[in-house]
């Protein structure tokens, strides 16, 4: 047991799973204990429904009203991906330019740094005024929330490519454009995909904010509708759906990275 408590001591795979399951079991048992104790106390009973009630309600909704769940998942996923992909397609090329040319960085950096610190919810009134209340303001809100941090992260990944690689490519006869595409971008690609993975997670955060704008369908707004009627079991269910969606997509990103960038020596990082 003792060696596992040394700084950065490696642990066997079995222990990784054991600890993960242990933390899950502990949290769930705490909740079960809490909710069972609340039975009979009318106020607490509402806010801490028992596990049985949560499962029953969830099952009921899945069997009787899965159209609503699927439609909410569809609408939210669509918004997240529309905003996030738009941000990615614009931020990656500009970020590469910023990382490659100091003159481009000097031009874009001030705005990026400035807008990055504006809280996205503060933009809602402005966006409603400009884009109305359809899908556009929601998508653009997610776009703004992810674009600027992504831009700076991509630029940093490009800057992290060693200058020696640029020098050696020059002496092999590569042009500036060739160095940008064949050396800088290729070298930074694993880092850029990691930045995309992280920003994709933020997109889900901004989704809930974006769905505050006159929305009928979506995971975020549904939770707020449930809250209005204090439907705790349904809120719990939707939170689990959000978590599982994010976790699945994150795992897909990671699996892609591992497959596409086998050349990156992970043992040295």
């Amino acid at each position: 047991m003792k060696p596992y408590f040394l700084l950065r001591a490696p642990i066997p795979r079995v222990l990784v799973w054991t600890m993960g399951i242990l933390s899950l079991v502990l949290s769930v048992s705490w909740y079960i204990w809490k909710s069972e104790n609340a039975v009979g106390n009318p106020q607490q009973e509402t806010f801490f429904p028992t596990a049985r009630i949560i499962l029953q309600t969830s099952w009921q909704m899945i069997t009787e009203d899965h159209a609503t769940i699927l439609s909410d998942i569809y609408h939210s996923t669509y918004r997240v991906f529309a905003g996030f992909l738009l941000a990615a397609f614009i931020a990656v090329p500009i970020g590469v330019l910023m990382g490659a040319f100091n003159i481009a960085a000097a031009f874009f950096q001030p705005w990026a740094e400035f807008i990055r610190y504006i809280p996205v919810p503060a933009l809602i009134p402005l966006f409603i005024a400009i884009f109305g209340v359809g899908e556009e303001p929601k998508i653009y809100l997610i776009f703004v929330g992810t674009f600027f941090p992504l831009l700076l992260m991509v630029a940093d990944e490009i800057r992290r490519v060693g200058y020696d690689l640029i020098k050696v490519a020059h002496t092999l006869g590569a042009s500036q454009l060739e160095i940008m595409t064949k050396v800088l971008l290729r070298s930074a690609l694993p880092g850029i995909f990691d930045a995309l993975r992280i920003c994709h997670g933020w997109a889900w955060t901004y989704l809930v904010v974006a769905e505050l704008i006159a929305t009928n369908e979506g995971l975020g707004i549904r939770i707020m509708k449930f809250a209005r009627f204090i439907q705790m079991p349904k809120i719990m269910m939707y939170l689990v759906i959000l978590g599982l969606l994010g976790l699945t997509l994150d795992m897909l990103f990671r699996a892609f990275n591992r497959y596409a960038f086998r050349w990156a020596d992970t043992s040295k990082k």
Binding site: G162, D164, T171, L172, A174, V183, R186, D265
Partner: protein
């Protein structure tokens, strides 16, 4: 091939003062010369190498390759660095053939242009010569330091440069591997009839490889002497223990150390030792 270094010097201007990194230097390099720049760190030897490569500008003077002044990096002048500069996302073979896909070699599918094919052919031949052909599909992080530098040499030579510049290429290797690669590069330079300019601060390495050693000194950085090494074009590792070799080594060491004072207080340390006994 003829390379002319004419009055090349380098100054750095900071807010407070001007630093003379390299005083005016003059010499001519002939085909198949193996020239070693020897000197302590900060003597301008790497600066001169970078100027010849076109990666750095000279403050004055010119480097002239076959009649044309060098204005920037070009495939005619290859370079191998001390740090590992392989492309980690390419396999050993793809690294060796990197230059074949570049537009300067007409890689855009011109049938009459056979430069890319020549590079690929040469890369394969060289990988075999340096003992890397069985690792063709490995990625750089799977190679040892010595193998990585052998690949860096192959990648530079596959491009068939007129001059190969090497900036302390074996400096990060253990001494055993370093001696192996020294032997390999001197044989390779004779087989391929390449012209090499090589920076090092290792005196043994300089004598073993060079036919001409440029001895540098620091503050200001300058060439203080050119020493011709009288051994033939191919050399045997046993040479390093011969008396002739050691005599040259003694001479070079004296040249390097002639106006050098230790940066630590040697006198005080010696006094402390004599007091304690």
């Amino acid at each position: 091939m003829k390379l002319d270094i004419r009055d090349v010097s380098k100054r750095f201007v900071t807010d407070e003062r001007i630093i003379q990194a390299l005083m005016s230097s003059n010499f001519t390099v002939d085909h198949n010369d193996f020239i070693v720049f020897l000197g302590p760190s900060g003597c301008g030897k790497s600066t001169l190498l970078n100027i010849i490569s076109g990666l750095e500008d000279a403050s004055s003077g010119q480097v002239i390759l076959d009649g044309d002044p060098i204005t920037g990096p070009s495939p005619e002048i290859g370079m191998v660095f001390q740090q590992y500069t392989l492309f980690p996302w390419l396999t050993v073979r793809q690294n060796a053939m990197f230059a074949a896909q570049l537009s300067c070699n007409g890689a855009k599918g011109q049938l009459e242009n056979d430069r890319p094919r020549n590079i690929i052919h040469r890369a394969q031949k060289l990988l075999k010569l340096v003992g890397l052909e069985n690792f063709s599909n490995a990625y750089p992080h799977e190679l040892s330091g010595g193998m990585q530098q052998r690949l860096a040499i192959v990648r530079a030579l596959a491009n068939r440069p007129k001059v190969l510049l090497m900036d302390e290429p074996f400096g990060a290797l253990d001494s055993q591997t370093r001696e192996e690669l020294q032997d390999m590069i001197q044989l390779l330079s004779q087989v391929e009839k390449i012209t090499v300019m090589f920076v090092t601060h290792d005196v043994d390495e300089a004598i073993y490889l060079a036919n001409r050693v440029m001895v540098f000194s620091q503050s200001p950085g300058r060439i203080i002497e050119e020493v011709r090494i009288p051994f033939g074009p191919t050399r045997d590792p046993a040479l390093k223990l011969s008396e002739e070799f050691l005599a040259i080594k003694k001479n070079l060491k004296e040249l390097i150390n002639q106006d050098k004072t230790p940066s630590y207080s040697r006198k005080e340390l010696l006094e402390l030792i004599s007091h304690s006994t």
